[in-house]
């Protein structure tokens, strides 16, 4: 079943990062701490990407998610510090949300994942092949006319729009 080799141990370590980071995000009252926990979680995700033979994704994760988004979040936290810092962490419906979330997890795991990919499930759990496409192939896919160049361009437009929008939204109105 599960061989105890470096990959498995790395898996577990990274999963700890993921889950622990996630828990920390959700429960921290100090938002800076929360952002840092987010970074840890995302880092765990990057590790997963490495294990899954997607080094480009791992790099992008670290660069974009952690480097840009998480930092942006830290900036936002710093910009939106309220005077009273004794506000509660959770809102009124936290227990119901927890319940719902747990149920969702239960459903996903028991209803979907385990029946299909668990023991005795219909789908295989092991990779089909070990021949993995390279990063070069990914780059080609982005710009190749018969592959994904259109979504690529649209994505760039989107980002332009987002930039403009963010600037418009967040600019100083009394100028």
């Amino acid at each position: 079943m599960l061989e105890l080799n470096a990959a498995t141990i790395a898996f577990f370590i990274f999963s700890i990062f993921l889950v622990g980071g996630a828990l920390g995000v959700v429960t921290s009252s100090n938002l800076i701490h929360g952002a840092l926990y987010l970074i840890i979680s995302l880092f765990g995700g990057a590790g997963f990407f490495v294990l899954l033979s997607a080094p480009f994704m791992a790099a992008v994760q670290v660069l974009v998610y952690i480097g840009a988004i998480a930092v942006l979040i830290i900036f936002a936290v710093m910009l939106t510090r309220s005077m009273t810092r004794m506000t509660e962490v959770y809102n009124r419906q936290w227990w119901l949300s927890a319940l719902a979330g747990a149920l969702l997890l239960l459903m996903l795991v028991v209803g979907v994942i385990l029946p299909v990919w668990g023991n005795g499930g219909a789908r295989p759990n092991m990779p089909i092949s070990d021949i993995v496409a390279t990063t070069e192939a990914l780059g080609v896919a982005f710009v190749s006319g018969d592959q994904y160049v259109l979504p690529f361009e649209v994505a760039s437009l989107l980002l332009t729009g987002v930039m403009i929008g963010a600037i418009v939204l967040a600019r100083d109105t009394e100028s």
Binding site: A100, G111, P115
Partner: protein
């Protein structure tokens, strides 16, 4: 239908006799009685009733007066002429009595058969048809004068026409039911006419008294009629009393007479049915089913009446069916003919106008009672034979009641001071004579006395009306000349010439002024007859006070009227003598003598009832003669006792002629009518007047009966008795009232003779009225007020209605609450519900996005679970 043939058919003519007066009633009622509204204080209204002062009252227009007079007289004359024609036709019928004039038609289908109504003219009808229309016509003529200034004259003529029509219907009826119809209609008319001056309380009280008293008797009579019908299945007179019962042996008859037509007639039920055309074609008269054997033989026909005399009555085992029926029918006569104890209505009926009194108490109503008994005599006699001393219960009843009444009423009459009251009690007494005569089997004698009595009593009443009229004239004269009162009272102006010269004035205007005091005055005065008995100082109903009450009917106020009213005096004298039975020359003598002769005959044979009748009737005849002489003496002889009497007269003009002419005609009959009944073996006179074996009257009347009646033969003793009582009474009266006539203010010698207490008792009619009030009237009034009104009407019926109303009100309130609660609740509740639920739903819109997202997640989870369960994905897991 050929009218000529119909009118020539003597069977059909009797139908037309009552038609004239009845038609007159309808025409007068519908066409006339137009009236002008005039103030009640006007002269035309006369007796100003205080209740009507200040109001307008209807007074009939002159045109209506004329129309009513013409139509009324036409009706009466037509009845008279037709009756005479029918009488002649009837007397010309061969073997009249066995063969009669009859005509009938199917009146009511009763299954297989039909009840027939029709007319019958047999000997009894004939004598009534001679008397009744004559008397009625005389009364009509008299009324023209008497009611000339009455404000409601047209109504009066309508009512007496109806009265006459009813009486004639009764006379020509061929069955007991039609007779009863006439009987009842006359009862209604008596009520309407006695209460003609209904403003006067005593008048309408008297009307009610008359009607209810006779009604009591009529109900019992109806029971008798019903029982008769129940027993025999028919009410036809001939079928019950003359024809043999159905099922009698006809073979013997056919053999004897060879007459088959009667057989078929009997087979049809024995009713006499002849169509007018058939009779006219045959030119002969209808026949009835012949009696078995020749008339006059000893064979007795078994009629229904005879049969009923043998069968026992239901419920009362002791007497026969005929006896029970007879008693009931006699009770009817006791009421109608005012016998003891139902006599109380007749004196009070003097409240009506005098023509009404004449009609009711002489010609019509009381005669109807005796006529009914005469008609049904075979039923009363059935099972008995009074001439042999075998009496049935009805006959006993009649003998006793008749004799008691005769004596009882005569004793009251001697103490009365009102001229009409004396005559009223005299009528009761004479009817007692007739009923008693029938009780002892004197069929012919009773019929004879009925006819003669009608003549002289009608004469006496009308003459007394003339006297009263004259006295009122005198009263006017006294007032007009301001004598002793010094006030003028809207009557005739002061300087009006009285009586002596009619002057250039239009007679009618003169009458109007003379009578300005009004014929309603008569209402005031006639009616005082009743009031007078209770208190001598009777108070008129005039608005003006006379200072002292003058009663023009009080004989004590009269005296010496022979000087100013000679014609009235002579006719009154003739009538009075006839009533008293002045021997030989008056009709009353002959009829009374025959009754006494019948009684004597039975007494010699030792029969008790005959003796009773003899004694009572002799005493009554004696007293009759006495009080008649007393009345004549007080009224006409001597000197005027009051100023009014001095000026009493009838005046000149149509009124006096209209009032005196009938008197003259009737006095002729009051003398002559007796000579048809003279016994053949009466010394001298018998040979003159009665050629045959039987007196003409008796010969005619006895043919009405199917069984032969024994003939009276002359006996000197009853004649002597009649002579003695009549002359003795007249002599006594002459002694007390003529030799030394009473002067003004002198007390009646009767009071000293009889003693104060006895006289007062007689004057107060033995206090019978008071007794009846205590025994019958007051309890009825108590019952009517407390039980019918309070308990039944207000308590039960109103209570029930209130209950129903309360229930429905309650239901209404309930529905209201239901409505409010349910319907309003629903219709208000739905919007409220919607509003509230809307408000509640609005609560979900908190504006908090995380909440929305949570709901989305929960929804997704739910859908996922459902999806998992339904597609069995969950089940697929190991």
């Amino acid at each position: 239908m050929d009218i000529n043939a119909l009118l020539n058919d003597p069977n059909f003519l009797p139908w037309l006799i009552p038609v004239g007066p009845l038609l007159a009633f309808f025409i007068i009622s519908l066409l006339t009685s137009r009236s002008k509204m005039t103030p009640a204080t006007s002269a035309a209204y006369g007796g100003h009733h205080p209740d009507y002062d200040g109001m307008d009252v209807p007074i009939v227009t002159d045109r209506s007066r004329v129309v009513s007079i013409i139509v009324g007289m036409s009706g009466a004359l037509s009845a008279w002429i037709l009756s005479l024609r029918v009488v002649f036709e009837a007397l010309a019928v061969q073997d009249f009595g066995k063969n009669v004039l009859a005509s009938s038609l199917d009146w009511m289908d009763t299954g297989l058969t039909a009840f027939r109504m029709g007319v019958l003219v047999d000997p009894l009808t004939v004598i009534m048809l001679i008397m009744v229309p004559l008397a009625v016509t005389m009364i009509f003529i008299y009324s023209i004068g008497y009611m000339a200034n009455d404000p409601r004259q047209a109504r009066f003529f309508a009512l007496i026409s109806l009265f006459a029509g009813a009486m004639l219907t009764l006379v020509v009826a061929d069955n007991l039911l039609l007779l009863f119809f006439g009987w009842e209609v006359m009862g209604v008319c008596s009520y309407l006419l006695i209460g003609f001056w209904f403003e006067k309380k005593s008048a309408y009280n008297a009307a009610i008294k008359a009607f209810t008293t006779t009604r009591v008797a009529d109900v019992i009579m109806l029971l008798g009629i019903a029982y008769l019908f129940f027993s025999t299945g028919t009410l036809n007179f001939r079928d019950i009393m003359y024809n043999p019962m159905p099922g009698q042996d006809m073979a013997a008859h056919v053999e004897e007479t060879g007459d088959h037509s009667a057989e078929t007639a009997v087979a049809e039920g024995g009713a006499v049915v002849v169509e007018g055309e058939a009779a006219a074609a045959e030119g002969d008269h209808s026949e009835t089913a012949a009696a078995e054997g020749e008339y006059g033989s000893e064979a007795h026909v078994i009629t229904w009446a005879a049969h009923l005399g043998e069968t026992p009555a239901i419920f009362f085992g002791g007497i026969s069916a005929a006896g029970l029926i007879g008693i009931f029918l006699i009770i009817g006569t006791i009421g109608k003919s005012a016998q003891f104890p139902l006599h109380v209505w007749l004196p009070d009926a003097m409240e009506g106008p005098t023509p009404v009194s004449a009609m009711i108490h002489a010609a019509a109503m009381v005669s109807a009672g005796v006529y009914a008994v005469l008609r049904m005599y075979p039923v009363f006699e059935a099972g008995g034979h009074p001439h042999d001393g075998v009496f049935t219960s009805p006959l006993m009843l009649m003998a006793v009641v008749g004799s008691v009444t005769a004596l009882f009423a005569a004793t009251i009459a001697v103490a009365q001071n009102d001229v009409k009251k004396v005559l009223a009690y005299s009528t009761i007494s004479q009817l007692g004579f007739m009923v008693a005569a029938l009780g002892i089997g004197g069929f012919v004698a009773a019929a004879f006395h009925l006819i003669t009595h009608a003549f002289f009593k009608a004469l006496l009443f009308m003459a007394s009306g003339a006297v009263i009229h004259g006295m009122e004239h005198g009263e006017h004269h006294v007032h007009a000349h301001g004598h002793s009162h010094g006030h003028d009272d809207g009557h005739a102006p002061a300087a009006l010439p009285q009586g002596a010269g009619g002057g250039p004035l239009d007679p009618r205007l003169e009458l109007a002024m003379d009578h300005g005091h009004g014929s309603a005055d008569h209402g005031g005065h006639d009616a005082h007859g009743h009031a007078l008995v209770t208190t001598h100082a009777a108070h008129d109903d005039h608005a003006e006070d006379h200072g002292h009450a003058f009663d023009p009917q009080d004989m004590m106020n009269m005296g010496g009227l022979r000087k100013t009213m000679p014609v009235t005096f002579i006719t009154f004298l003739i009538g009075g003598m006839s009533l008293a039975g002045l021997p030989l020359i008056t009709a009353g003598f002959w009829s009374k003598d025959e009754i006494i002769a019948e009684a004597w005959l039975g007494t010699t044979k030792g029969f008790g009832p005959h003796a009773l009748v003899l004694i009572c009737l002799s005493l009554a005849a004696f007293m009759t003669a006495f009080y008649t002489m007393r009345q004549l003496g007080l009224t006409f002889w001597g000197d005027n006792r009051t100023e009014e009497a001095a000026h009493a007269n009838l005046g000149r003009g149509i009124v006096s002629v209209a009032m005196t002419l009938p008197l003259i005609i009737l006095s002729f009959f009051a003398i002559v009518a007796g000579f048809v009944g003279v016994l053949p073996d009466f010394p001298i006179l018998g040979g003159i007047f009665t050629p045959g074996k039987v007196a003409p009257f008796g010969a005619l009347v006895e043919k009405a009966l199917v069984n032969p009646v024994p003939h009276l033969s002359f006996n000197i003793i009853p004649v002597l008795i009649s002579f003695t009582v009549a002359l003795g009474g007249l002599f006594l009266g002459w002694l007390m009232y003529w030799r030394k006539p009473l002067t003004a203010g002198q007390k009646d010698p009767m009071i000293t003779i009889l003693g104060d207490s006895v006289h007062t008792t007689l004057k107060n009619k033995y206090y019978f009225d008071e007794l009846y009030i205590m025994v019958f009237v007051k309890p009825s009034q108590w019952f009517a007020k407390n039980v019918s009104y309070e308990f039944l009407d207000k308590g039960l019926i109103d209570g029930f209605l209130h209950l129903v109303a309360a229930v429905f009100t309650f239901i209404g309130d309930l529905l209201k609450v239901l409505n409010l609660w349910l319907i309003d609740g629903v219709s208000d509740g739905i919007p409220t519900l919607i509003a509230r639920s809307g408000k509640w739903f609005r609560g979900t819109q908190t504006g908090r996005i995380q909440q929305y997202m949570l709901f989305v997640l929960i929804a997704a989870l739910v859908i996922g679970v459902i999806f998992a369960v339904t597609t069995g994905v969950l089940q697929a897991a190991p």
